[in-house]
Amino acid sequence: MADVTLTIDGKQITVPAGTTVLQAARDNGIFIPTLCHDEKLSPWGGCRLCVVEIEGMRGLPASCVTAVGEGMVVRTASPAVIEARKMMLELLLANHPRDCLTCSKSGACSLQDYAYYYGVRGDRFQGEKHDYPLEEDNPFIVRDMNKCILCGKCIRVCAEVQVNNVIDFAHRGFNTRVTPAMDLTLRESEECVFCGNCVQVCPVGALAEKASLWQGREWELDKVRTTCTFCGVGCNLEVSVKDDRVVRVRGYDNPLVNGGWLCVKGRFGADFADSPDRITRPLIRAGERGEGRFREATWDEALEFTARRLQEIKEQYGSRAVAALSSARCTNEENYLMQKFMRAVIGTNNVDHCART
C-alpha cells in the first residue's frame, strides 16, 4: 500500500495509506487520549475524546476513525481541541460517581487519568445522574453501570472476540445502557460464559473482578507473566499479586496464542491456590486404606518412610512391581524427573500418565 505524508503538530510524518490519524500520531509519540478505541476491536468513534483539528475539515473529527490523507495538516492540541476534550470529560464526569477513593479501578482508570491530565474536576454540570442497582449476583464479575461511560468495548469484545453477543446497547440517548436482553443480569441471561474479557477492556470501574475488590490497589500489585494450567491451549496470563496472594488474573497479550484473551477458568480459577482444602504438610495414613484418615508428618519422616518402602518393595518384588503415574498438569521438568526417577532410580519403564488425547 502506498505511503501518505501528513503533518501532525508541525511534524512531518509518513505512514501507509489507510492508517488512522490516531495511529499515525501514536506511532510517532504524539499523545491523543481515547476511551472507546481498542486496536483489537472494530472502530467505534463514539467517545469523541480523540478529536483533533484537521485543516479543511468541518468541526473536530475523531482521529480514531479518520484516515490519513496526503498533505493533511493535523493539530492535536489546539485550544478548540483542548476545550472539546475538557468538555467531554466534564460531561462524562457529570454522570459518573465520584468515588475514586474506593473505586477498584483507581490508578488504572482512563477517565481518572485524563481528568487529571487535563485538570478537569467534573463539577461544571449538576444534573441527573444514573442510579442503577449494582449487579453482583454472580461470583466473578461486578457490574456498576453507574460508572459505565458507554464506550461499548465490552459489547465489541463479546461480539468480536468471544462471539457470544450476550450484551448490547439497549434503550437510547441518555438512557442508553449496556445490558443483556430484557435488562437481565449476566447471570440471569444464561448466555454469559464469564470469560471476563469485557472486564479486561473496560476503561473505567464499571466492570471489575469480584474477588479482587478490596484486595489491592493498582500500584501495589506485582505482575507475573505465566502460562495457564486449565487446558492445553497455553494461554498466557498476567497474574497480579499482593502480599503473596493472587489479586487478579488477566490475559497477557501473546499474539500467537491467546492475544490477551481468556476464559472463565483462566481468569477466575486461580483462587483454588488458597483453598482451605490445600494440603500444606506431608500426611501419613492413620486409618484403614481408603478410609481417608491421616496424620501430619515432617518432610523428613514422610520422605524417609517413602524411600524405605519403595526400596523394600523394589528389592522384594523387583523393579517392575513398582509403577508411577506422572502428571499432565505438572511441568515438563517434573515429568522429566518423574520418568527419570522411575527409570534410573527404580529401574522400570512403568511410568505413564493420563494422556487421554
Binding site: I167, D168, A170, T179, P180, A181, M182
Partner: protein
C-alpha cells in the same frame, strides 16, 4: 388458561409463524418482523422476541437493543385504544402541551401509561406531520386536528 385463551394463543402463534415463514431469509427483516409481531400481540412479549432471535439467528441482546431503540415498539401490554399526541413544533406553539394535560386529566393517566380498565394508552409522538392543523392527535388510525382541551371529552366518548 381456558380453552378459548389457548385457542387465542394458538392463533397468534400461527400468525407469527406465518410472518417468520414469509420473511424467510430476507436480509434485514428484524424490524418488519417485530412490527408485525407487535401487530399480532399488541406488544412484544419476551418469549416472542426470544423466538424471533432464535429463528433469525440474531442475538437476543441485539433484538432487545433494537426493540428498545425505536419508540414504536412496546415491551408491555397496551390499552385497546392508543392515543398519540403530537409534540411537534407547530403543535407546541399552538398549545400541544395543554392538550396533553387535558387528556391526561380526563383519563387520569400520564404519558406512556394505560388506564386501569385497559381502554386507553396515552403516548406522545414527535410529529404527526399534520402541522397545518395543529394541535393534532391520533387515536388508533384516526387523526384529529385543530384541537382544544374542550373538544377532548367528546372525542374520547367515541372509544
Amino acid at each position: 388458561m381456558d380453552a378459548s385463551g389457548n385457542n387465542d394463543m394458538n392463533i397468534k402463534a400461527k400468525a407469527l409463524a406465518d410472518v417468520l415463514e414469509r420473511y424467510g431469509g430476507t436480509k434485514g427483516a428484524l424490524i418488519p418482523i417485530l412490527q408485525e409481531a407487535q401487530e399480532i400481540y399488541g406488544y412484544l412479549p419476551r418469549e416472542i422476541m426470544q423466538e424471533i432471535a432464535k429463528k433469525l439467528k440474531i442475538p437476543f441482546s441485539q433484538v432487545y437493543g433494537v426493540a428498545t431503540f425505536y419508540t414504536q415498539f412496546h415491551l408491555k401490554p397496551r390499552g385497546q385504544n392508543i392515543i398519540r399526541i403530537c409534540q411537534g413544533t407547530a403543535c407546541h406553539v399552538r398549545g400541544g402541551a395543554r392538550l396533553l394535560e387535558a387528556i391526561s386529566k380526563a383519563l387520569g393517566i400520564g404519558k406512556n401509561e394505560t388506564t386501569a380498565d385497559g381502554r386507553f394508552t396515552l403516548e406522545t409522538v414527535a410529529c404527526l406531520g399534520s402541522c397545518g392543523l395543529a394541535p393534532v392527535m391520533m387515536i388508533n388510525e384516526e387523526t384529529y386536528g385543530r384541537l382544544t382541551p374542550e373538544k377532548i371529552p367528546a372525542i374520547l366518548e367515541k372509544y
